[in-house]
Symmetry: C3
Subunit: 266 residues, 3 copies
């Protein structure tokens, strides 16, 4: 890949400092706020139906995360997502725990149906379930998918007209046509709560400064993954790793992304 | 105590990696998620009445915490707790702030009445109030109990048919018959928000891998307390202590629990 | 300024350890809890309408923060605030994002109208909007105010009969008559989420131990700012800065406040 494209995107993100509107869970929301700042954007969390449409008009991206879903949030996601669609503001959906309960699966499918989702990002189980494949999810963890994950993602992306991101040791990014594989990251990212949610926030930050959601997703996952690799180097355990992850994300420069990104076209 | 029993339990926890379903407050929920992972289990937070019954069926334990109680949560606690009872999944109740307001006291009593709670874990004031003793609670802090705390806990446990855990400098664990006193821990654990909630999460993790809630509680409190002791050693202040607490919990090995546990039978 | 007054206030805070009742957002609530403890007070978070009136009666101060506002919270803020007013318990309002959406602006104005707010603390944009000046807010960030900020704050304070605090590189504290300028703090405080909310918590802690909200606000902002200055000294990035910020706040002694406070009378 032309790594210059990624570093240019990162430069633009740091210059523009876009607002990233989150409607998200209360478990990892603080992590999402801080990683958004570290990435170079500005987070805002607002989920009341009275204000989400107004708030999202100022945003460069809208991140929807169903990690602690409730009925009021669904209404707000539909409202904010609709306004984002009208304004051509990219919508990132993180269907946390889809497949674990019918409520989450149904809600994720409803959001995909009623909104134009720009980027759907989940683990193998979540994406598998939503794509209609055989997949297993326990709680918020993926327990595997039957079939070729790349093909499942690719067909799903093509059919739904969106970019699909499957997180894993190798992340898959596809819009049905292009397939990028991102190999950055570190196993320690699985030793803390919130890295999946944070990846969606960073993706929102990058998506706010380009019209190309495939490039935005790959750049975001590579940047966040490189920060994870650097943080893992000296970590004494999961929470000191977490501390350093934010520090490294904030310290990451466009040239670090250019030199450190391990992104392949498949 | 035969410390081998505790270390075997810890080994089993790390091998099985049970799911611990939390319905908990939004203040310390991230700490609960991360300590659950550090202990060796997998956390899931879900509190919508539409999904709690389905979610809890995958769990090894259900942790109910009333730290930021609201009406919707009570309904979900009753639903999830009922399903957990049907499936013989242990239920841990942390009655945060019981005694501080009638709403919290009444809700805790209602949960104890309508559900079969396996382990009730609180500070002296909270347990005292729920046991019907003279006790004082201000906010979420205990301000003492009149009477012999061990006897109060023991009688309460016997009468209610559950395990009662009273946290403090020395933790009391009793099912009415057996009484274990756990002397692990460090005063710095009181210098941050969330250690009480985290102790309940770790207890849930241990309770998921044994039928003996007394042993599970004592092992959990000893393990968490040892992590606290180790973290206090080099801490420069409360938040660096907190960071190291997670690191030490993740690094703790079954043999550390065997050698470090200070548990007495009374 | 007589720095002895500030250090005496801090000594009293550490001795009395007042309860600070928060009705606040779910993004930075854990930070608010921990900074309250580090400052020397005891936090309690409770927002159910069933209990807020009872809970606030035990508190030394009530902190209202509209960072993730919803309809239920407004009702609870009105109820708790009314009881606080009856009991002469100081009320601190942090109108996060006022000006960004009509819902936030209207709610902040309603709270100012229906309650006797003791201290209103916001950034330039938020205060400007509520004071009726020309001001711009995007998300939860201030984008400037047209006019002399000190005069706007002073007139607003006089008109509303409250203390107004405008946070910024130089913080403005005024009750309409006195004007104090606090120059403590560090730019790194803007590199993490939550410092604004934390400043309100620390202000609540100080306000709980004096009848003078101007002195309480200035002392709180100076103390928190000094902790920020110390934390910035060795920080490797935003999250290690955050960790050290709590540590430094906890380690701060009254004499550090006396010697480090940079407070001018204007």
């Amino acid at each position: 890949m032309k790594s210059k494209q990624f570093s240019d995107l990162f430069t633009r993100l740091r210059e523009k400092r876009p607002l990233v509107h989150h409607i998200t869970n209360y478990v990892t929301v603080n992590d999402c706020a801080n990683i958004t700042i570290s990435a170079g954007a500005s987070p805002v969390m607002a989920d009341a139906h009275e204000e989400v449409c107004e708030m999202v008009t100022f945003a460069g991206a809208l991140v929807l995360n169903i990690g602690t879903l409730n009925r009021g949030q669904i209404e707000s996601m539909i409202l904010a997502g609709g306004m984002a669609n009208d304004r051509k503001i990219p919508v990132i959906l993180d269907p946390v725990g889809a497949g674990a309960t019918r409520f989450r699966t149904d809600t994720a499918l409803r959001l995909l149906d009623e909104l134009k989702v720009t980027i759907l990002k989940g683990n193998a189980g979540e994406i598998g379930v939503l794509a209609g494949a055989e997949a297993q999810v326990r709680g918020v963890d993926s327990y595997g998918v039957t079939g070729d994950l790349v093909k499942i993602a690719q067909h799903f992306a093509k059919r739904a007209g969106m970019t699909v991101v499957v997180s894993g040791a190798t992340d898959i990014v596809t819009d049905g046509r292009r397939i990028l594989l991102v190999e950055n990251g570190h196993p320690m990212m699985g030793s803390i709560s919130g890295t999946g949610c944070m990846a969606a926030s960073v993706t929102g930050a990058f998506a706010a400064v380009t019209d190309d959601p495939v490039m935005a997703s790959a750049a975001a996952l590579a940047a966040f993954g490189i920060a994870g690799e650097k943080a893992a180097a000296g970590a004494r355990g999961p929470y000191s790793f977490k501390t350093t992850l934010f520090d490294e994300m904030a310290a990451l420069m466009p040239e670090d992304l250019a030199s450190g990104a391990r992104i392949r076209i498949r």
